[in-house]
């Protein structure tokens, strides 16, 4: 479904991603772990189409389509969803209006009729419950004044609404208390489906206690330095990145 080949990306002339290779099949859950600053968010932002990052070489295919040629909004309509590490607050645009506009953009793209305000409200109320948010969050500005955990749940809510082909979750587990982590994990498990892939980026092992990934990759210094099954995550938990010859907050020395 997703195929990343030798992807290089730079910001302000500095190379951050130094040749990423990754293949994800429908139904799979992949986890990417790695020290701070290793390029995890950069990878997710590049996939979503953030133009701050310049792709200097490489290729990304989604269902055979050249993803890098598409605008951000076209990627979203093609099925890419990114749960942001730092969701943006947008006062003045209500969450409800935002979610409805996004859902209707997807529906229009799929040739479906737009949802009326009433029908959408029903759907939105149902999904806010599933991520344990009060319906009052729909009336507030997008992420405006939300706590860290509420923002993350609002991201999962969007994923559930938009039903993407590939959901990229950038540290959706960080900054959450135990209960919120459970809610988010439950949401992610609900997202799992045969024709959907999930790419979970995480700094910690703890989300993986709730969601067992099919594959785990270690990203360090802009490269994937090791891949394995869920056992790899446990190994990392025990021995840290140092066990791989990678020190936290430092470039990879392993290759």
């Amino acid at each position: 479904m997703l195929s990343i080949r030798n992807l290089h990306a730079a910001v302000e002339g500095e190379e951050i991603l130094k040749g990423i290779n990754l293949d994800i099949q429908p139904g799979e859950v992949h986890a990417i772990m790695g020290p701070n600053g290793s390029g995890k968010s950069t990878l997710s932002q590049v996939l979503a189409g953030n133009e701050t990052f310049e792709v200097t070489s490489g290729e990304v295919l989604l269902d055979g389509k050249n993803l890098l040629e598409l605008e951000t909004e076209e990627r979203a309509l093609a099925g890419i969803f990114l749960a942001f590490q730092y969701p943006v607050e947008i006062p003045g645009v209500s969450n409800l209006q935002f979610l409805r506009t996004a859902v209707n953009a997807h529906r229009a793209h799929q040739g479906k009729e737009e949802l009326s305000a009433v029908d959408f409200m029903k759907l939105a109320k149902d999904i806010t419950q599933r991520v344990d948010l009060d319906a009052s969050f729909l009336k507030r500005g997008v992420n405006e004044g939300f706590s860290g955990g509420e923002k993350k749940r609002n991201e999962i809510l969007q994923a559930l609404l938009l039903e993407p082909r590939l959901a990229i979750l950038d540290e959706t587990d960080s900054g959450l208390d135990i209960d919120a982590l459970k809610t988010v994990a439950q949401g992610v498990n609900e997202l799992r489906s045969e024709d959907r892939a999930i790419l979970m980026i995480t700094h910690y092992q703890r989300l993986l206690d709730h969601i067992v990934p099919d594959k785990v990759h270690v990203l360090a210094g802009g490269r994937i330095v090791k891949s394995g099954d869920s056992e790899l995550a446990k190994e990392l938990e025990e021995h840290g990145y140092a066990g791989l010859g990678v020190s936290d907050d430092e470039e990879a020395t392993a290759n």
Binding site: G49, T72, G92, Q97, F98, T101, A102, L162
Partner: protein, 428 residues
């Protein structure tokens, strides 16, 4: 040195209209004082950015003919009054018969009342700062005098439609005077519109006099067409514990200028001034506000937001003057500006003059563009760039529009602003 340009004598022609004697006399006096009135130039501080848009050509000197009988066609199911080219048109108005309020055209006032009014006219304004209000005083042919009696509470808003009919070139000088009696309460909607597309000048003056404990909500919409220059002044004086809530929404034109001057004259008076101005093409909008904290223990809050698209230009000048005796004043002014293109220009200037030492004052002005991160967040959800831009731009002013307390006006305004914003982002 080149002599400073002065007002063309054509503008000093005798004005028409059927005014009572005291108002005629006043008008004549004001006219004499205008001979050789210097016109604002680039060097006139309060007209620095706008003087070049002010075109007082001779073709505009004639008063536009008034007295059209048909209404402006606005399907308003509310009590409303039409001022057409500066003259009240009773046939097209619906003077509500309500307890506690007297509404009259200047023309219909008896000499006594007209005499009292003549003594008060322009009292709310700092005439030095409002050159064009002086021209209105020399040229007005009628006006609307609204008196709300002490203690009266008007539940329904009163609409005044000020229409400029630019079927020919010329000028109009509408005038309103609103006496809001002690402890009375009302909402007034001024809707400035135009028809026809010849060049026209509207030089309007609106005055509010608020008695003790009076409460006035003033909504002012400036919606004229692209051939109309509108220079308007609004003055308000507030006695003890009176409150003014002002909401102005304006769309740009060849020249739109609004001076809003509020005097908090007795303790406990307070005002909240909200303003939105938007412009596109080569339009120009200039808001100048002044809040005079004359007495102690008064509060003022001011929030203005401007959006300039294309090659348009918006000016905001917000002055707060806290007089020496005005201890325990609280003043908060906030102005945010959004440029939608690199060709647009916004000049924002807060001016604080504080002569009392025990006051709480805050002010801020920012000029910026739409936030890239917000835009990316929206489009990453499949929302088109155009739609995302529209949402973010509307968000910038929505907070203020939502505070307009009359639903019908709020909805119309929202729709008009939406239309403006969508147009601004239309793909060329």
């Amino acid at each position: 040195m080149k002599a400073a340009p002065t007002l063309s004598p054509a503008f000093l022609q005798p004005a028409g209209g059927k005014l009572p004697e005291p108002l005629l006399t006043l008008r004549q006096q004001r006219g004499k004082a205008l001979v050789d009135m210097p016109l604002p130039t680039r060097k006139t501080e309060n007209w620095k950015y706008s003087s070049r848009h002010l075109k007082l050509t001779e073709e505009l000197a004639n008063s536009l003919p008034s007295g059209r009988k048909a209404g402006p066609g606005l399907a308003l199911d509310h009590p409303h009054i039409l001022i057409h080219n500066g003259v009240v048109v009773p046939e097209a108005s619906d003077f509500p018969e309500l307890d506690g309020i007297e509404i009259s055209s200047f023309a219909d006032l008896d000499d006594d009342t007209a005499g009292q009014l003549a003594e008060r006219l322009d009292n709310t304004l700092d005439n030095q700062a409002i050159q064009m209000a002086r021209l209105n005083a020399a040229r007005f042919e009628d006006g609307l005098y609204i008196r709300l009696k002490p203690g009266a509470v008007l539940e329904e808003p009163l609409y005044v439609i000020i229409e400029t009919d630019a079927g020919a070139s010329g000028s109009a000088y509408p005038r309103l005077y609103v006496d809001v009696g002690a402890n009375s309460q009302m909402t007034l909607v001024e809707e400035y519109i135009s028809s026809g597309d010849d060049a026209a000048l509207v030089d309007s003056v609106t005055e509010f006099s608020l008695g003790e404990g009076a409460n006035l909500t003033s909504i002012r919409l400036s919606l004229e067409g692209d051939s109309v220059q509108h220079i308007g002044a609004t003055g308000a004086r507030l006695l003890g514990h009176a409150r003014l809530d002002s909401h102005t929404v304006g769309f740009g034109g060849p020249l739109r200028r609004h001076d809003l001057q509020v005097r908090l004259e007795q303790p406990g008076a307070e005002c909240r001034l909200n303003g939105v101005a938007v412009s596109q093409g080569k339009q120009h909008y200039d808001n100048h506000t002044t809040i005079e904290h004359v007495a102690p223990h008064c509060n003022s809050e001011e929030t203005y937001r401007n959006i300039a698209a294309d090659e348009s230009h918006i000016v905001f000048n917000g002055r707060i003057h806290i007089h020496e005796d005005a201890q325990k004043s609280a003043a908060d002014m906030n102005n945010k500006n959004l440029l939608l293109t690199t060709g647009a220009e916004i000049d924002a200037k807060p001016e604080l003059e504080i002569y009392a030492d025990d006051v709480t004052c805050a002010h801020g002005a920012t000029i910026g563009q739409l936030d890239d991160r917000s835009l990316f967040y929206l489009v990453s959800r499949g929302i088109s760039r155009q739609h995302a831009n529209t949402l973010l731009t509307m968000a910038f002013i929505n907070e203020l529009v939502e505070q307009i307390p009359v639903e019908a006006v709020r909805q119309t305004t929202q729709a008009r602003l939406n239309q403006f914003i969508e147009q601004a982002f239309e793909e060329a």
